[in-house]
């Protein structure tokens, strides 16, 4: 096999550049030489595949990893993983990590003066079903300060990591909350030039998935790179 069906490149302005000076850490870490353009080969269009067998059933519930429940607003976060062509991606591994309700991470580098929660680790994972659906139960994280600039605050967010079907689809992103006044002051959000692409990072309130007397819900669909033509019939 010599010619592969490649994944699309992203549209202009829909992805951040490596260098974005307002986010200070990019200054010493962004490449300075031009990227070497290369065609996708078998090595890029393939990638690690996962299945529900790889993940425990309870790993998508971040509220049940300790003796008691964590503090904070319980929420259901769910959505679909699709490619740019609208095709659902089954068996996509979705990993999530986040701060606790006070805006503190269970991590030695986080010295924010906010309480740790002994009942919250802040990591979960799940594999999408046949229709590309995923669902987590967790608590709403708090906003927290960081030292990027004077009085800098990160809007509340969840970190998401995704594996599609090819390494070229690999994505790490962040989910934000609707109506958060901190969004427009956040260099990470603002590093995405296109307004619609920024909006894609903001979840929507999800009335249908709320659980009365128990949890509110947000919806966050995630779109990975797609291909222009129908992929070749596969053997497996």
């Amino acid at each position: 096999m010599s010619n592969v069906n490649p994944y699309r490149k992203s549209y202009f302005n829909t992805q951040p550049d490596y260098l974005y000076p307002a986010y200070r850490s990019t200054l010493k870490r962004a490449p300075t030489q031009p990227l070497v353009q290369m065609p996708q080969t078998l090595s890029e269009i393939t990638g690690p595949l996962f299945s529900a067998r790889d993940v425990g059933e309870t790993e998508s519930d971040l509220t049940r990893q300790h003796a008691s429940e964590p503090l904070g607003e319980r929420m259901i976060v769910s959505g679909r993983v699709l490619d740019e062509g609208g095709r659902p991606l089954p068996n996509a591994l979705v990993e999530l990590w986040q701060a606790n309700a006070s805006g503190r991470y269970r991590h030695p580098v986080d010295n924010h003066n906010a309480p740790l929660d002994p009942n919250f680790t802040g990591f979960g994972r799940v594999v999408t079903d046949a229709q590309g659906n995923y669902r987590f139960k967790t608590i709403k994280p708090g906003a927290y300060p960081w030292r990027n600039h004077y009085n800098a605050w990160r809007p509340a967010h969840l970190h998401f990591s995704l594996f599609g079907q090819g390494f070229a689809q690999r994505l790490v992103t962040q989910m934000y909350f609707p109506g958060d006044p901190l969004l427009e002051f956040d260099p990470m959000v603002m590093s995405v030039p296109d307004e619609k692409a920024r909006q894609r990072l903001v979840s929507s309130f999800d009335w249908e998935n709320t659980q009365p007397e128990y949890a509110i819900a947000y919806r966050f669909d995630i779109i990975l790179r797609g291909r222009d033509a129908t992929p070749m019939e596969s053997k497996r």
Binding site: M1, S2, S10, Y11, Q15, P16, D17, Y18, S25, T26, K28, R29, A30, P31, T32, Q33, L35, V36, Q37, M38, P39, T41, L42, S43, E44, T46, G47, P48, L49, D83, G85, A99, H107, V109, D110, T121, G122, F123, R125, H159, S161, Q165, G166, F167, A168, R170, L171, V172, T173, S191, V192, A197, R200, L201, I222, I223, R225, G226, M232, S234
Partner: protein, 187 residues
Amino acid sequence: MSLLLTAAQTVGPFVSIGFEKQAVPNVAAAGVAGERVTICGRIVDGDGLPVTDAVIETWQANAYGKYAHPDDTQEKLLDENFKGFGRVLTDAQGGFRLTTIKPGMVAGPDGRPQAPHITVVIFMRGLLKQLMTRIYFPDEAANAGDPVLGLVPAVRRTTLIPTKYADGVLQWQVHLQGPNETVFFDY
């Protein structure tokens, strides 16, 4: 139908909360066919300081040059016990260590074979999206004809080829910036 691609965002400084437990530092279990290799190295930033909060992920073919993936239709042997995915985090010195097997050659563009290589993505605080690169192998005659290495300016190719030490360990330094800046790809 065309949906807008979700934008990448940085992993931030706290990625190890989840990924430490999901690390895969040993890519090839005992019994997997192939020459065992250990790849060690360090990631340094534009000031030469170690990057202590990076995640390196690797993807590779098995020793026969076959990917454990249905889109690889090459008629080559699959190894049931080999997935080919690795994930390591850098330590307090910016160092990492991955053990695996040397992959075989796989088909490349226009039917030209590709020299043995490992596909690499790197995430860290300060990277708004992942870096994409490759690891090739030293003392590998096929490197000279590799269609992807051939796209890299000759003076920079060495940044993709680790150095083999006397103990057999491969040393691969990743320089994010500077005169020895590692080659990063776009595809």
